[in-house]
Amino acid sequence: MKPRSKRLLLVGGAVALLVGAVALVLTAFQQNLVFFHTPTEVAEGKAPAGRTFRVGGMVEQGSVKRDADGLTVQFAITDTAKVIPVSYRGTLPDLFQEGKGAVVQGTLEPDGLFRASEVLAKHDENYMPIEAQYAVDQAQKAAQTVQH
């Protein structure tokens, strides 16, 4: 290959790579796939119907139930205002816990059940030692007792 056409190929390749990457990212943004909806948004019908999307919130306390097959899990995602029941078949991440954040990806059934194909645990940006968390919990409990 002549150096000139080789160079042209390189430039073309670089430009194609860039355009492809931008297109990929824009498609992802377009399909609402890069962020999640809150249960309230879903209840208001703001989530895309009949398409895969994400719902994020907190796993409701006491909502996690395993089916007899041991693989299917039922739980509810809440943003404290609205609640969405979720059904999922597969393994859950280690940090998945009641009362903690989670993001589920899947589709909404007509009956209001969210069929998840993927469940991800969401953690917050706080980092602290185990003892500090214990102290925080104690302080919160104490504050609640005072309020009551």
Binding site: V34, P93, D94, V103, H123, P129, Q133
Partner: protein, 259 residues
Amino acid sequence: MMKEKLSRSTEPKSWLRFSAPQMFYPLAGKMAPWFAAVAAVLGVVGLYIGLFVAPTDFQQGEVYRVIFIHVPAAWMSMFVYLVMAFWSAVGLVMNTRLSFMMAKALAPTGAMFCFVALWTGALWGKPTWGTYWVWDARLTSQLLLMFLYLGFMALTAAIEDPRRSDRAGALIALVGAVNVPIIYFSVSWWNTLHQGASVSLTKAPSMASTMLAGMLLMAFAAWAYTIAVTLWRVRSLILERERHTEWVGHELDAQEGRA
């Protein structure tokens, strides 16, 4: 990048003479080892604090220790791109050759840190979120940054004419810079799986102090490392670009005499 630092010691405006490649070349050669030494010291202390002193996290256990690499690398990958855009703008406006060379010298290190941020993020995401990769706004825009770095390097390498290569690179650097605030603010603009910033200018850090100390030391180490490597790289670029000048001839003679 380091020109500002020199302005203190000399009379006003005289630091501008270092924008001449001939003046900057020896200065870069003298400064680079110092920055490398600072990077090594900060890196060792940062790693010691991060791996031996910082306590276990209440939520994630030990795996959070990836943060001491992940966050400094991610910050650096964004910051380096902005500095590239800055030098590209200076180059276009002032028509200074050295500015473009600085942009080119920065790119590989920025790309390296960008890859490290993605890689460590994947290894961190699996045990915490439950996945190596997710098309999250933060992750997706960071991936785009990787492509921008690769595009910049491929394009500037492919165009042989130096001035055209400079200008094509500057265009990618300036247009792509829009992506940096998108990465940074993605976690507050959208509901992302990626958690918000633990450290920001507007609020107190939400991290235990030893964890924060380790992370900041590693971030400063990454800065010093980037400066050192960029200075070394720009020296090669300067020799290459200025090879027809008399001073490079003398420099080459000196190098030959040493070998």
